[in-house]
């Protein structure tokens, strides 16, 4: 089959690889009908996340049709079922899964011991996302093997299109969980850094949850336009002072809730801390660039919440913990517990509260994937979200 394969930094190719097989009785194989490129994939493309090996298949936002089911998954899935596959692989039975903390499932990461070395404890297996999270082949391919398939799937109705459903795999629940982590009150101002796909979903989620005011910060004009269409007030960080504008919009008190939808590759224009990060990163003394985290901790209203869906990989430097501690801020973060939210979100799509397909700007055949990685990363051609059709 054809698949997008990682070969090294900024080197992703559409290769022919062996078709996946059932390896365990709980597996299923799906024929992929649509998949997408995620901002998280860019951390791999740029090789900011360690733990990739040449030959790994990319992709964790995937949907399709079940074509083969292992013996132990037969009760839950059958050939022909239409499914969206969550990016977190879940067993559904461990202590964490039972509590709905799916992204820290204790049993699906077959390289759990490596994850435990890095993080102290294992986290869930993820599709197409480094050997730290199991080294499972991803779904930017014609077929995908789904481990623990009896639990790791979302059944979807035929009445909705792939485009409306695909993002249940990741970015819609991710934006949603980011907003839920804020426990939004009708009086809240929610400030969201990053108007990428995750930021866009977080804006819509905060609006659905009834926030008084949603403010978004980015520097890409068409992303800010799309954010405005979603009901957000926009701040262009290249043109305005983020801290000043946020204080202005909140009577000097700062936003109650802050969401980091940017992550470890934050851009900062000529600020002292950003230069510091670049130097430390270049000399391998720091792995991430936490500019957004610093800004959030500083501007957030006392007793407010920092919600961090943006992905970080390792060690962060110069975090103003004094501000966090003295202002009594709450930090909520994590990879998304996708299946915890998807029933509810599917209903909201069906009821027409939201249609996540608004974010798609490019739809191309799978073999054009490698080019699209570059276009998406460089934000060329108005690119915000790419859907690939195998």
């Amino acid at each position: 089959m054809k698949a997008l394969v990682w070969h090294g930094t900024t080197d992703i190719r559409c290769d022919s690889v062996p078709d996946p097989q059932i390896e365990h009785p709980r597996d299923a194989i799906i024929k992929v009908t649509s998949c997408a490129i995620c901002g998280s994939d860019l951390h791999l493309y740029n090789h900011f996340m360690p733990g990739m090996k040449s030959g790994d298949i990319m992709g964790h936002e995937t949907m399709g049709e079940v074509v083969e089911v292992g013996a132990e998954s037969k009760g839950k899935l059958k050939v022909g079922d239409r499914v969206v596959i969550p990016f977190t692989i879940i067993c559904g039975e461990c202590d964490q899964c039972k509590r709905g903390n799916f992204s820290v499932c204790e049993r699906t990461n077959r390289n759990g011991h490596i994850a435990a070395k890095a993080f102290g404890h294992t986290t869930a297996g993820l599709f197409g996302y480094t050997h730290l999270t199991g080294g499972y082949p991803g779904g930017q391919a014609e077929y995908l093997r789904v481990p623990f398939a009896d639990a790791t799937h979302i059944k979807v109705p035929n009445s909705l299109s792939d485009e409306q459903l695909l993002f249940l795999s990741d970015i819609f629940p991710t934006g949603w969980q980011a907003a839920v982590q804020c426990d939004i009150e009708p009086t809240d101002t929610v400030a969201i850094w990053g108007a990428g796909p995750v930021g866009q979903m977080a804006i819509r989620s905060a609006i659905l949850l009834g926030a008084k005011q949603v403010i978004v910060i980015d520097r890409v004009p068409e992303r800010l336009d799309m954010a405005k269409a979603g009901g957000a007030i926009t701040i262009n960080l290249d043109e305005e002072s983020v801290i000043e504008r946020l204080n202005e919009l909140t009577n000097g008190k700062g936003p109650e809730k802050c969401i980091d939808a940017v992550g470890m590759e934050a851009h900062a224009t000529a600020t002292i801390d950003s230069m510091y990060d670049r130097v430390k990163q270049a000399t391998m003394m720091e792995t991430d660039r936490p500019h957004v985290l610093r800004e959030m901790a500083y501007v957030c209203r006392p007793a407010g919440t920092l919600s961090v869906p943006g992905v970080y990989g390792g060690l962060l430097d110069k975090i103003p913990f004094g501000a966090i501690m003295n202002k009594g801020l709450t930090i909520r973060t994590g990879q998304t517990h996708v299946n915890r939210w998807t029933d509810d979100l599917l209903r909201r799509i069906e009821e027409g509260q939201i249609d996540p397909s608004f974010v798609i700007t490019h739809t191309v055949p799978l073999d054009q994937g490698p080019d699209m990685y570059k276009i998406f990363r460089d934000k060329q051609d108005g690119c915000i979200k790419v859907v690939l059709k195998p």
């Binding site: 509590r99 709905g100 009150e185 809240d188 609006i207 659905l208 004009p221 405005k228 608004f358 934000k379």
Partner: protein, 191 residues
């Protein structure tokens, strides 16, 4: 991230900083040209180039023509390259004044350094403009209708207030805003 927008002055030139630089060079060109035409004699004296007043005035005309070209044309790129060539001519002419026993050699050196500085600026500007010129930029995509709310934002704002935030996602009671004194306790969802 460079587009044709309403603020774009010319196709392929979204970069207003380079546009501004080009305009500045155009104005400088005219001003310097006027100086060369108005006072060729004192310039020649200062540089120890007596007898070359005619040449200096001629260069002044060149500067003014180039300056007008930069300011008036749709695309200043060839005119800025023209300035680069003119700078070369100026430098070559000044170099001849370094020969022999010119008592004003010091002044000539200073003049050459100044021209070299302007040349660097001209060259940078011309190069940046050339890189932009051949490929007209695409217009910025219009996503202003991408609301994501099939029934409009009015219908969707707060539509999910029926959502019960799970207990483990609630803000600690003590930190809830004063506006909501009795935030209801909600049970753990059945997972």
């Amino acid at each position: 991230m460079r587009y044709e927008t309403e603020r774009t002055r010319r196709r392929g030139h979204a970069d207003t900083a380079t546009d501004t630089l080009a305009r500045g060079l155009g104005i400088f060109s005219i001003a310097f040209g006027i100086a060369e035409i108005a006072a060729p004699r004192s310039l020649a004296r200062a540089l120890g180039m007596k007898g070359q007043e005619g040449l200096i005035a001629g260069y002044g005309v060149r500067e003014i023509v180039t300056g007008i070209g930069i300011l008036a044309s749709k695309d200043p790129t060839p005119w800025i390259w023209g300035r680069v060539a003119g700078d070369g001519l100026d430098l070559a002419t000044l170099a001849t004044a370094l020969e022999g026993r010119n008592p004003k050699k010091g002044n000539v050196g200073i003049a050459m350094a100044a021209v070299a500085g302007v040349t660097a600026l001209d060259f940078y500007c011309a190069q940046t403009l050339s890189r932009e010129s051949p490929h007209p930029l695409p217009p910025m995509q219009d996503y202003s209708d991408r609301t994501g709310y099939p029934r409009g934002i009015g219908q969707s704002h707060g539509a999910a207030q029926d959502f019960e935030v799970p207990r483990d996602f609630r803000t600690p009671e003590a930190m809830r805003p004063y506006s909501q004194p009795q935030a209801p306790q909600r049970p753990m969802p059945s997972m």
